[in-house]
Amino acid sequence: MNAPQPALVAHRPERLRLVGQRRQMLAVMHQRLMFGMLVYAGLVALIALRLIYLAAFGDHAGRKEGLTALVPERGDILDRDGEPLARTIDAWSIAVHPNKVIGDKLALAEKLAELMPERSAENYFAILRSDKTFVYLRRRAPPDLVEAVNAIGEPGLALDREPDRLYPQTTLAAHVLGFTGIDGHGGAGAERAFDNYLSDPSKRGTPLVLSISSKVQQALEAELGEAMQHFSAIGAAGVIMDVHTGEILAMTSLPTFNPNAPGQAAPEQMFNRATLGVFELGSTFKPFTLAMAMDSGVVSGPGQIMNCPQVLPAYGHIVHDTHPFGRQCSIAEVMMESSNIGMAQIADRLGTERQKAWLKKMGFLDRVEIELKEKGRPLTPGSRWGPFETMTIGFGQGIAVAPLQLAMGYATLFDGGIYHPPTILKIGPDHPLPQGRRVFTADTSYRMRSLLRLVVMKGTGKKADAPGYRIGGKTGTAQKIINGRYSQSINLTSFAGVFPMDDPRYVIVVMLDEPKATPETYGFTTAGWNVAPVVSRTVSRIAPMLGVAPAMNREPNMSEVLPFIHDAKQDSKKD
């Protein structure tokens, strides 16, 4: 029953089946062989193509990468003539790995103290015995010191090159440039304001060109520094600006610091008096009051006659003059003699609201528009701004602005009345001149020329005159507030000048903080005696560099003001 059942269908013959299998296997083998060959050929072709490519376009073995570009670690800063003001160089640093020192640590400490005497041998020994892995001994080391340290031959000492910021002109324009910290980022000035630009790898190859002219800057710093020393002033500031573009050619604040070693500077030295400090600048404000009044139609012109008494009682206070007229006087005389009484009356006629609007328009109520981050906020009477405050602001007391703002105001007044924001970048294709804003009328701007020239020719600013360069300007002696009261003896003197006055091109503002009297000033500490000569000397030095040709026979149109000057000498001759 269990016998296998015979197949119902006849079997395929064995031979036929074998032939079919072999054929199939052969086809598979062919396929596999072909596939392997193709892969192999592909690889060979790939290598061959790569070789051909390398032969045609490839680099050769001796190529030095990264040398073709010469991009500094941080962008250079140049002055307007291309002189480097800040550069990044490779400096040596000396460090020690205390745990890798193999020699005698005591002897090494003594040698180090001999070479680098800023630390004692005990100090060095303590460092060498500490369990720190890495200690900087000296950064920015001079090459001969590095050589001497290398000669010790201690493997634990590490001599490395690291990028370091160098200011070749040392203290020149220190407050404009600022400094960089140990991390390589800007700590003040342009280094801080343009930190992103200077450290951006795609931009740092092209240097940052400032509007500063290092020669002009040097002249200003030297003359101002000498005056500061001579008159024992506690500080000084100076700004030279291009009237037409708002470019700052020179800006200094004294005492200054060395940006190569910012850590050694005192806070007093770091303080930028030109932009961050705000001061009551006194009579240098008077031209603005007069220009506002002329533009508002309150004053007809330099020939208008007004009453100038010995003292002026107003709103419960008394306004004084140092040289009171005690008679009728013209506007030109008010300006020439810097009469507070005359100017207070003009400001009173102008009124508080109009004065505020004008000051706002001139940019005196806001922080100064400049790229630097160190900007001081102007101080105004605020809510106490009444009619008497309007009068005092009229002659420059009661409002505190930065010296740069004063320069900006003069630039506006003498650029035909058009305001351009001050800038420390050179105006050029990369930084075009922004659209200006009209503040004063061109006519007022023109008429102010002869008035300010008159101050230097015949008034309080005689010592500011530089023969041939037609300086016009205004002195300012402001009393400092000491313990809440205006001091009679401690002053802040300033001079704001413009040259050449027949076609104004440059503004110069200088300021001395608390100058003392000397024998040759006959005991005076007023601006005409201490800062005005600085202007004269500085302009004589810089005007030829700036392309202002001296001319002894050119003047602004003085016939606009001279007829309105009461000449005491002529009167005495007639008598």
Binding site: Q218, T322, A517, P550
Partner: protein, 256 residues
């Protein structure tokens, strides 16, 4: 052995030759490129060196350093306004012909009798031979306008009659020059010249005659006393109205 049987061989050879040629061209290009790169690298390295050297020379010759050298050693000053000229005509105007004295020419004396000295009694008679003798300083031609340096000691303020002595104290070299007192026996410029030469040869190192002390000592003494005493004027000399009463301010700020 026909050429046809070598056809394929020729083909292979020419192909190989062409490939080799192509490769050689490419090799040549590559080597040229490498050479150019090498030069470029050297340019960059040279630029880096130049930058380093420029930085170094710029740092050593920084403007403040130049100013210090100038104040201490060179005492150069900016050109004054009068030194700028408009054009060649103004320049030509400056050089007026100088009268030349021919020293070798025979001395011709006028035969007319000299007039009697008409000076009144009591007044010193001026030495006629000394009159044409120019002071030696007049013969020195200075290249540029001389302005006073900043380094001079403080100047006496009130000592008006001594103002010329003060000026000579500013420039000790000219002050040291002897006055041509004894030149009466030698005529004219020659006397002055030989006098200068004589003085120089006699005192090669120190050209300071004893007169210098008598000139300079009182002036120095004067400056010393002047720096101590502070003179205060009653009114501001800058003011054109000095006769008016000067009001003293007490209770309100005063700007001037």
């Amino acid at each position: 052995m026909s050429a046809r049987s070598f056809g394929s061989l020729f083909m292979v050879a020419s192909c190989a030759g062409a490939a080799l040629g192509c490769y050689l061209v490419s090799l040549r290009v590559a080597s040229e490129r490498a050479a150019v790169e090498n030069v470029e690298n050297r340019i960059v390295l040279a630029k880096r060196d130049m930058r380093m050297l420029q930085t170094e020379i710029g740092t050593r010759g920084r403007l403040s350093q130049l100013e210090r050298w100038n104040a201490g050693a060179f005492s150069l000053s900016a050109p004054a306004a009068q030194q700028f000229l408009e054009g060649s005509f103004e320049l030509a105007k400056l050089s007026q012909p100088q009268k030349q004295v021919d020293f070798k020419a025979p001395v011709v004396l006028a035969s007319a009798p000299a007039p009697e000295s008409k000076a009144p009694l009591g007044e010193p008679v001026q030495d006629e031979a000394a009159a044409p003798a120019l002071p030696p300083s007049a013969m020195l031609r200075e290249a540029s306008l001389k302005t006073e340096t900043r380094e001079v000691p403080a100047r006496a303020v009130a000592d008006q009659p001594r103002s010329t002595a003060m000026k000579s104290a500013d420039r000790p070299v000219t002050a040291a020059k002897p006055a041509p007192v004894k030149s009466a026996d030698m005529p004219g410029l020659a006397a002055a010249k030989s006098r200068v030469a004589q003085v120089r040869s006699e005192h090669p190192a120190a050209t300071v005659p004893p007169q210098k002390k008598s000139v300079d000592k009182p002036s120095l003494a004067a400056t010393r006393t002047m720096t101590k005493r502070v003179e205060l004027a009653k009114t501001d000399p800058l003011a054109p109205l000095p006769d008016k009463h000067v009001g003293k301010t007490k209770d309100s700020p005063t700007g001037r």
